[in-house]
């Protein structure tokens, strides 16, 4: 990988009080690449996700997007720059409709005075939500239903579809296949492949190692706040990956 990384952090450190959550972490992601981020509880995965998504500012280290030095003051900054994050179990407002969720925080407003007062163009949002979701390979029935009425898999598909629809560079998916049945998880993995083929960089965080091995090109293993392994997915078997996570062998 000689080309400039699409998204990269170098030497990132983060402490919470006396606890070192991240210690000199390097992480890079290329366009059209799916990188798995794995590690035990407390390994620093969620802290790294928060740094990458702009939710937390690191104490030290640098962030580069397309080779350009950046710093995020909020997730909004990162989103504006093209980095979309789907957080674990929190991507969706269940009482809102599918289209309201897809457009949450980026609502289309009506034209003229009403628009300046913040009035919504529901029709345009419904239409575009449907076509955006279809574009990323997600078929969701009637986008004017509350998401709570959909199945768990459909709900997750909407959340991912939202992230993919809005990202223009990087998609960070935190445990997107959690609590899903085999078929629904398969659909989610399919959406990830679709995103990869469109040239997005995808960061896939999961405890479900078979999913990680199935969909990623490269796997980064975190342990006690450090990167302990960074190698192509094809070099792992489920067994060796588990050992790397538990610190039983060094890659």
């Amino acid at each position: 990988m000689t080309s400039t990384a699409l998204y990269e952090v170098r030497g990132v450190g983060k402490r919470y009080g006396g606890v070192v959550a991240l210690d000199g972490v390097n992480f890079s992601l290329h366009a059209g690449e799916v990188v798995g981020l794995v590690g035990d509880n407390g390994a620093g995965k969620s802290t790294l996700v928060k740094v990458l998504s702009g939710a937390h500012e690191p104490d030290s280290g640098e962030i580069y997007l397309q080779g350009e030095r950046r710093s995020w003051k909020s997730p909004h900054d990162a989103m504006e720059a093209g980095v979309e994050t789907l957080y674990q179990d929190s991507g969706i407002a269940p009482d809102l409709t599918v289209s309201a969720n897809v457009f949450l925080g980026r609502e289309i407003l009506r034209k003229g005075v009403l628009g300046r007062l913040g009035f919504l163009d529901e029709k345009a949002m419904r239409k575009q939500a449907q076509s955006e979701l279809e574009r990323v390979g997600i078929a969701v029935p009637a986008s004017n239903r509350p998401v709570a009425r959909l199945s768990g898999g459909q709900r997750q598909a909407v959340a991912i579809g939202r992230a993919v629809a809005w990202a223009n560079k990087v998609i960070i998916l935190d445990e997107p296949t959690n609590h899903l049945g085999a078929r629904q998880a398969g659909e989610v993995l399919e959406v990830i492949r679709e995103a990869k083929s469109k040239g997005f960089g995808v960061i896939f965080i999961s405890h479900t190692l078979p999913h990680v091995l199935e969909v990623t090109d490269r796997i980064v293993v975190l342990r006690l706040g450090r990167v302990v392994a960074d190698a192509p997915s094809s070099t792992y078997t489920p067994d060796t990956l588990l050992k790397a996570i538990n610190g039983l062998s060094q890659q």
Partner: protein, 325 residues
Amino acid sequence: MLHGLRDVVRRQDVILLMLFFVMVVAFTAVNPRFFSVRAMANVLQDFSPVVLMAIGQTFVIASRGIDLSVGSVLGLSGVSMALAIRAANSVGMDPWVAIALGMSAAIGVGVVVGLINGLLITYFRLVPFVATLATMGAAAGMSLVLTGGTQIAGAPKEVILLGNATYFGALTVPVVVVFLAIFVSWAFLSRARFGRWTYAIGSNPFAARGAGISVERHLVKIYLISGVLSALAGAFVYFRLGSGSPLSGRGGELSAIAAAVIGGMSLQGGSGKLTGVVVGALITTAVLSGLILIGVQPNWQQIVVAALIAVAVWAQGLSLGGSRS
């Protein structure tokens, strides 16, 4: 046709409206005086402060919060207005200027308490129940401090006129303003981004934050709205009575929350409509005036409202359980 009709009947606000008409018929059957223009005008006047506080409560509950301070804010803004107008009067100020001054004092109280609520909840991270319980107590105490516990009378006759002159039989200026407030709030809650974000925060605050919504700033605005609407309610009660009492508004939070939950607001946040809450406020006030007209002692009012809250929340639980199975 039949299908459309079924959809209409399924809407909770429509069912509530039918319930309201059944109540009107029942009260009228017991005491025919209930169904008179005069009695209806009375219901509308009682309805005004309740629905204003209930609208604020709708924004707050939709965002998964609660505002217990609405009744105390009503009381404190009423006495602040009464004191300001009395002071302006005593130096011989033009009554309309005095009223404008008093109005600013009242609204100022709403802004200050709403802002304190919002900051306690967002900056100091108190849960809304505790934050607004504290301001509820503080505002009620402040009313007593300012008045020494007595009623502040001596309003110029323009105040009484503004609050009580009726047009078309039942409409007073405050009632018209209340209808405007209902319409504007409904529009912003159900048709605008402000409402969309309010429901999103109540439905899943993490998703709202993840979507780039500035949750804290939005919550502060919501508690500000609730404070200002309660202050407006306080001003209208003052217009109606021509005096400010430190005891007015006491228990107002009970009526406001009753109207909201009867109207279908889920205390879990994220769902419920303002149209339902408006009918909920109508039902709450009609029950109260109806009970008086059929000869129940006013002292029973709080007990009835409390029972309404319990029944409404219980019924919400039933319908949730029903749709899940």
